[in-house]
């Protein structure tokens, strides 16, 4: 077992020995910020010795939009659309994570059916996000048809979300206290059809990649992370599990009733890009399993509430607002002055990239005192030097792909 490498190890640029005939000819290369393989705008400063990377410095911040500060100035409720735009391949999952932090702070209990809908949305979002990983990573490594096939499946998911929320992306359909609307039978049917067919479609993707010699050669043994390193570098999610650590928040710190679902956590053995790929593939299958169970529960709880009845934090239904003065006052109060109690809360969920946490702190006013987003993508980016140092430049593309981050979330 290798020992833990310290942080300084990869940060400090090793000095160049100019007298050395070989070393003196190193080259600094800027990869990005517009490099297509960087999944957004990430700049990597790479020092090359021949084709070997000696030093990699990820330069983040090109997509910085000040989301945390925006949360403080916008207020509790109005931040929801902004969470969509963090990790924009799984907007609903971000919505839910933020809503759960607020609920924890306010002590709101989400009704049973609301939780089930949330689980369903989270798992479907996870599948969509992993499909993007498969698509973009495979196109980066030269497998173009896979890109189209995975995006085809993702398209189906987006059509379902469109039928449910009215938007394909940036759905903003989660509210403090539950979800905005119930999943109707039409959406249920669409979901059922999709979940039934998906494992088969996934197998096609797998057949094109798993035994593919090029895919195999470019991923196997590339970007190795040991168990210890993965933990020391705060990797979470599939990147941590790929290294053989059995850690999934859905099992370890269950939320939304995940403990009542039957699913397995896929774990890798070696910790290279190939393992991370296998873990994600299996995870999609498990997500499919959870989503099916959630769908079953939806059918059993038809007609139950999806939004907590709480007049302090949740907008009353429209029909009531027209009929009663009190409800109108509540409506005004919630829209104009939604205040969460004094205190702080941290809620983490297992997103497709790892532990996505929201830390919110309130001083009792309608604006949060502090909102911090623990974005798993940032930790993934920070591990690039650890994985890439000493490897060939072409491996960097595979490493970036397999770490799977979205810059919207990294830079926030």
């Amino acid at each position: 077992m290798s020992t833990t490498q310290t942080f300084e190890y990869s940060r400090a640029m090793p000095p160049v020995d100019h007298d050395d005939p070989v070393q003196g000819e190193t080259m600094m290369v800027n990869m990005g910020p517009q490099h297509p393989a960087t999944h957004g705008v990430l700049r990597l400063v790479v020092r090359l010795d021949g084709e070997t990377m000696e030093y990699i410095d990820p330069d983040v911040g090109f997509l910085h939009r000040g989301k945390e500060k925006t949360c403080e100035s916008l207020g509790w409720h109005k931040f929801f659309p902004h969470t969509d735009r963090l990790d924009y391949v799984q907007p609903l999952l971000n919505n839910i994570a933020y809503a759960m932090a607020c609920e924890k702070l306010a002590g709101i209990t989400v009704p049973e059916r609301g939780q089930v809908v949330r689980v369903l949305l989270m798992e479907v979002s996870r599948i969509a996000a992993h499909l993007i990983y498969i698509g973009t990573t495979s196109i980066d490594l030269g497998a173009v048809s896979n890109f189209f096939y995975s995006f085809e499946q993702r398209e189906l998911i987006y059509s379902i979300l469109d039928a449910y929320t009215g938007h394909r992306m940036n759905n903003t359909y989660v509210r403090i206290g539950g979800v905005y609307a119930d999943v109707d039978e039409n959406v249920e049917r669409m979901l059922e059809k999709f979940l039934d067919e998906f494992p088969e479609k996934l197998q096609v993707l797998e057949r094109l990649l798993t035994g593919n010699r090029i895919w195999y050669g470019r991923n196997r043994g590339v970007g190795l992370v040991s168990k210890e390193n993965a933990m020391a570098w705060s990797l979470t999610g599939p990147n941590l599990r790929g290294s053989g650590v059995d850690w999934d928040l859905r099992k370890r710190q269950p939320y939304c009733g995940y403990e009542t679902y039957d699913f397995d956590i896929p774990v890798g053995t070696v910790g290279d890009c190939y393992d991370r790929y296998l873990v994600r593939m299996e995870e999609m299958r498990q997500s499919c399993r959870i989503a099916k169970q959630a769908l079953e529960r939806l059918k059993q709880t038809r007609g139950a509430e999806v939004l907590a009845e709480d007049r302090k934090y949740v907008l009353p239904p429209k029909a009531l607002v027209h009929r009663s003065m009190e409800e109108l006052i509540f409506q005004f109060k919630v829209v104009t002055d939604l205040c969460l109690p004094v205190g702080e809360a941290y809620q983490a969920v297992e997103s497709s990239k790892g532990e996505l946490g929201f830390y919110v702190r309130s001083d009792g006013t309608s604006n949060p005192l502090r909102c911090h987003i623990r974005a798993p993508g940032l930790m993934n980016v920070q591990a690039i030097p650890l994985l890439g140092n000493g490897r060939l430049l072409s491996d960097l593309v595979a490493i970036i792909g397999s770490l799977d981050f979205v810059m919207g979330e990294v830079d926030r």
């Binding site: 109005k78 189906l156 057949r207 239904p317 029909a319 104009t336």
Partner: protein
């Protein structure tokens, strides 16, 4: 916990040539599957009441605008897209907007205005296309925002259907 299985390449897979044939057979079969792409402007996306397009103001059947310029949507808007200038009217409700502007370039179609409006005056239409020759033309004023109630009726019914929560609460009785 399941440990993912790493399998070694079989001889056929190592040889690669048969694999090319197998891969091509997969891609070739796709040719005959149903296409999922759409020729967008010619074949527009299906729109229904679920579609959350641009917000529009309701004009009631008697020809008056339903908005009372209470400013709730203005406050609820996370993109600061709405600007309202309220004024007086002789009608019983006493107030109506003199100016009501939605900057469509700012609007993110989140639907918070629809949710916040206590007077059923603003609803998300199914109008999605947004293109013009100047930025100024995309700041929609009252004239551009008004829609007869009948045009939005399906969405209004849909929102009411969504909003039927808390049925067991005492105040709904």
């Amino acid at each position: 916990m399941v440990i993912v299985r790493r399998k070694e390449l079989s001889l056929l897979e190592k040889l690669y040539l048969p694999e090319i044939a197998r891969g091509l057979s997969i891609t070739f079969r796709k040719l005959f599957e149903k296409k999922i792409t759409r020729q967008y402007p010619e074949e527009p996306l299906p729109k229904d009441e679920v579609t959350r397009g641009q917000p529009r103001l309701v004009v009631k059947d008697d020809g008056n605008i339903a908005c009372v310029s209470c400013g709730m949507c203005e406050i609820a808007c996370p993109a600061y897209a709405i600007t309202i200038d309220g004024g007086e009217t002789d009608r019983a409700i006493e107030r109506e907007p003199v100016h009501f502007e939605i900057d469509m370039l700012r609007c993110i179609l989140c639907g918070f205005c629809e949710e916040a409006c206590p007077k059923d005056a603003i609803f998300m239409s199914d109008e999605l296309e947004l293109a013009d020759y100047s930025r100024g033309a995309l700041i929609y004023d009252l004239a551009k925002l008004k829609r007869p109630k009948s045009a939005l009726q399906k969405r209004i019914d849909y929102v009411y259907r969504l909003n039927n929560r808390w049925r067991k609460s005492p105040s709904t009785r």
